[in-house]
């Protein structure tokens, strides 16, 4: 999702570390210690642990420890693997998906998982009145259950339905327990259920002090086993402590009061790498950082230079991505090669606007802007990385006569300008939630969704390709469609491309087996603390 939270300073080591680690994860368990407690420092607390009604990373990234989906994303974030369903079959020209449920799965309250729970959960997730994610299941006409199988009948073939079944909002909840919650409406029941969630995931929430701590205990009913047959999760207890201040979070880790922390600032990564008591992990991510441009011809009554393609390209050519990566991420990022990250399926890279000042000047001259112009960029106050990026942009663009003004705002104000389309340029970042390129593309390049990141950019061919790709079940044809969408979008440059960064997570050296997949999910089931 788009990160709008301050203090998100994240980095990428391109590399295959994540992939190797998760594949090794289950077999690693051979040597893993069981039992014990892991205390993990988070920068912000979760808000609402209902998979259907939430849209925040602080919820999404930890919910997978409580709930399961029918399928699970693979470690590289690009495919799916069996979850609550052991197998699936697509028939009827892509219009029927038949899933076989895993035998013997129980919810944390001891009740067995039934096909009814699955039908109910999917129906709730696709209810158009039920939250921001229902459109992921828009192709579903109805869901049937027969014994141990669940059948999704689709209105049309849907290329994304399989990754969607591995996405948090299609998590399976116990129908009876949910409906037995106090409250008159489904919303009230969801609130009550979100306080004491019941899932089939590796952990159970036992105590939650808002903004302070969250305690989870091992779910003894959990179905998944490690390769060596060891029952998962390995830990008895998992505690999240909320430490918003970066420096304090790291001090607590160093003092041994925390076993791990998320969002290590890039500036501190080297220091932690050098500490023999700690292990700095940089997990490959789908996160991209960029500046969104408003391409509407006029803005607040005045002509908008960003409406001109050549101006947008010039700004991109004048932006030295490598220099920005060196300064802001201390070399931990890598330049964007498309609007989607290199970890996104069907990523089609191109040499995206290599730094070329002469070309930038020539393009501006062709656009009739040789004398430069004034630009204003909105950014989230308190986010140091964004501010550094903009300070660098200010210098780099001054070389082509562009005078950049930086305006710092708080999140709701920034969002209001964004939604109203009254921004000229804004800082932004994105992380995929689905192991598929459709999500990011629907927000960046497909106009009818949110006007292409509220930029006003629209391309009829891109819209058409996107719609066709949603129904295209031939992987080769779909890949070709995505190559074309990316080439159209990247040539039109409605954003200023910056960099990809990894997720920087640090642990005490005795902690093993934590995994963060490129979609951001924090996976603790294979984590252990050596004695």
């Amino acid at each position: 999702m788009i990160s709008t939270i301050p203090l998100t300073r994240r980095a990428t080591l391109g590399g295959v570390m994540g992939l190797l680690a998760l594949q090794a994860g289950l077999s690693q368990a051979q040597a893993a210690t069981t039992g014990g407690k892991l205390v993990f420092g988070r920068y912000a607390d979760s808000l609402f642990l209902d998979p259907v009604l939430t849209d925040a990373n602080v919820d999404i990234w930890v919910m997978t420890n409580i709930y399961d989906t029918l399928l699970l994303p693979t470690a590289n974030g690009q495919g799916t693997q069996p979850g609550l369903a052991t197998a699936y079959e697509i028939t009827d020209g892509g219009k029927t998906v038949t899933l076989t449920l895993r035998e013997g799965v129980k919810f944390s309250d001891g009740t067995p998982l039934s096909a009814d729970d699955v039908v109910w959960s999917l129906d709730r997730a696709r209810d158009p009145k039920a939250g921001p994610w229902n459109s992921l299941l828009a192709s579903v006409d109805h869901v049937d259950a027969a014994g141990n199988t669940v059948v999704l009948r689709l209105k049309n073939p849907d290329a994304t339905i399989i990754p969607v079944l591995a996405t948090f909002n299609t998590a399976i909840l116990p129908k009876k327990a949910f409906e037995a919650m106090p409250g008159d409406t489904m919303d009230d029941k969801a609130k009550a259920f979100g306080e004491k969630p019941i899932g089939t995931g590796p952990f159970v929430l036992v105590e939650w002090k808002r903004g302070s701590s969250m305690k989870l205990r091992r779910n003894p009913q959990y179905w998944r086993k490690a390769d060596n047959g060891q029952a998962l999760p390995l830990l008895d207890e998992l505690e999240f402590q909320i430490i918003p201040d970066d420096s304090t979070r790291l001090l607590k880790l160093k003092a041994g009061e925390l076993d791990g922390v998320e969002f290590v600032p890039f500036a501190r990564v080297k220091e932690l790498q050098a500490d023999p008591n700690l292990r700095m992990e940089l997990w490959p991510s789908t996160r991209v950082a960029y500046l969104t441009m408003n391409v509407r011809p006029t803005l607040n009554g005045a002509p908008n230079p960003l409406a001109n393609l050549k101006v947008r390209q010039a700004l991109n050519y004048a932006m030295n991505k490598d220099a920005v990566i060196g300064v802001t991420t201390l070399g931990l990022g890598k330049p964007m090669r498309s609007f989607m990250s290199s970890a996104t399926p069907l990523f089609a890279p191109s040499p995206l606007y290599p730094y070329d000042l002469a070309k930038a000047k020539a393009l501006l001259a062709e656009a009739g802007m040789a004398g430069g112009f004034d630009l204003t960029c909105l950014t989230l106050s308190g986010n140091q990385d964004n501010l550094t990026n903009l300070t660098l942009a200010q210098q780099m663009w001054s070389a082509i006569g562009v005078r950049l003004k930086i305006e710092q705002l708080d999140n709701p104000t920034l969002t209001a300008h964004y939604r109203a389309g009254t921004f000229q340029l804004r800082t932004a970042a994105w992380t995929d939630d689905i192991a598929d390129p459709s999500e990011i593309t629907s927000y960046f390049a497909y106009f009818p969704n949110i006007a292409s990141l509220h930029s006003g950019w629209q391309d009829a061919r891109a819209d058409e390709l996107y719609l066709a790709s949603q129904r295209e079940i031939d992987p080769a044809k779909r890949a070709a469609q995505y190559t074309e969408i990316q080439s159209i979008y990247n040539a039109a440059a409605p954003i200023v491309y910056l960099y990809e960064t990894p997720y920087p997570v640090a642990f005490r050296a005795k902690v093993k087996g934590f995994v963060q997949i490129p979609l951001g999910n924090n996976i603790f089931e294979m984590a252990s603390v050596e004695k």
């Binding site: 609402f48 009145k129 808002r210 420096s247 304090t248 001090l251 003092a255 999140n411 709701p412």
Partner: protein, 312 residues
């Protein structure tokens, strides 16, 4: 008017104050750019989703009708539900208010313990080296930003010497005291500087006052003078200062709570403003207003007791 009547009068004055504060906060929160639903749903919600949730939460009603509903609820002590956390505001505040009260209480105590004796020493040795040393040290405390002092204390006493935990709140009263010591000390350092300087000044003023010369001339011992005149005057000054500064202590708690990861109302307030969580902003402001008003009342009463000339 008798004493009880005077107190009742003061309390009666407070009620319309609360009403005004409630009104102002309600309107101001809604005048802020941006809205709760956009903040809650994030950047990518579609317009339809935003409209649907806005309607569900009743935020599309006129400000006047929302205000009437808010005042009617608040009068019954009900503050509704947090938009961001989706739990009753009361439960959020009940969890966190004691933390902040304990923090500010401890900070006040520490500040007094530091400031009172040193103010006397400074006043007695005015402009000689102990006085200059004390003033210099406190000047540093006063002029250092709270987040910086906090981090320095954390680095030295918690991460370095392991004498205290690095932030957090712990479980049980004993652990709370232990966890809150460094944050309270951080808050106390700048506050104690204010008390010390003012108190030193007022002690000096008393010592130079004519009535003290007169007392001396009467043959009263220095000890009696100190106890009867100087201490009383010092107590009045201190009570006034503490009363006046409760508000800024609560304000300082916002930063301290963030640095030390203390789950108090200060952090809740900041988070609520950033997420436009109107019910929480409103309830917290009202409750803090009540606290400050009660402190003022208590200050006035103490004042009256220490110095009957002031009335109440």
């Amino acid at each position: 008017m008798n004493r009880a009547g005077a107190i009742a009068g003061r309390i009666a004055q407070i009620v319309p104050t609360f009403f005004l504060i409630g009104l102002v906060v309600f309107v101001l929160a809604r005048l802020l750019p941006g809205d709760a639903v956009s903040a809650m749903l994030g950047d990518r919600a579609t317009d339809e989703t935003v409209q649907r949730i806005t309607h569900q939460l009743g935020l599309d009603r006129s400000i006047l009708s929302q205000l009437v509903a808010f005042l009617a609820q608040a009068a019954q002590g009900r503050f509704g539900e947090s938009l961001a956390f989706r739990v009753p505001v009361a439960s959020l505040i009940v969890e966190r208010l004691p933390v902040t009260l304990m923090l500010t209480g401890m900070a006040t105590l520490i500040a007094l313990c530091l400031a009172l004796p040193l103010a006397f020493v400074a006043a007695m040795t005015a402009n000689r080296w102990p006085d200059i040393l004390i003033r210099t040290v406190f000047q540093v405390g006063l002029s250092s930003p709270v987040f910086f002092v906090g981090l320095v204390l954390l680095t030295i006493f918690a991460a370095g010497l392991h004498l205290f935990p690095v932030g957090g709140y712990g479980e049980g009263f004993g652990e709370h005291l232990y966890h809150l010591f460094l944050p309270a000390l951080t808050l106390a350092l700048s506050f104690s500087a204010v008390i010390m300087r003012t108190l030193r000044g007022s002690i000096l003023a008393v010592l130079r006052a004519e009535f003290v010369d007169f007392a001396r001339a009467k043959g009263l011992s220095s000890r009696v003078i100190l106890l009867r005149h100087v201490l009383r005057s010092a107590a009045i000054t201190t009570v006034t200062l503490v009363g006046l500064h409760i508000g800024s202590l609560l304000g300082g708690a916002v930063i301290t709570e963030s640095v030390f990861a203390v789950p108090g109302v200060g952090r809740l307030m900041v988070d609520s403003i950033f997420s436009r969580d109107y019910p929480v902003i409103q309830a917290l402001t009202l409750i803090l207003a009540v606290l400050v008003s009660l402190t003022f009342l208590a200050t006035d009463l103490l004042h009256g007791w220490l110095d009957p000339r002031t009335g109440v």
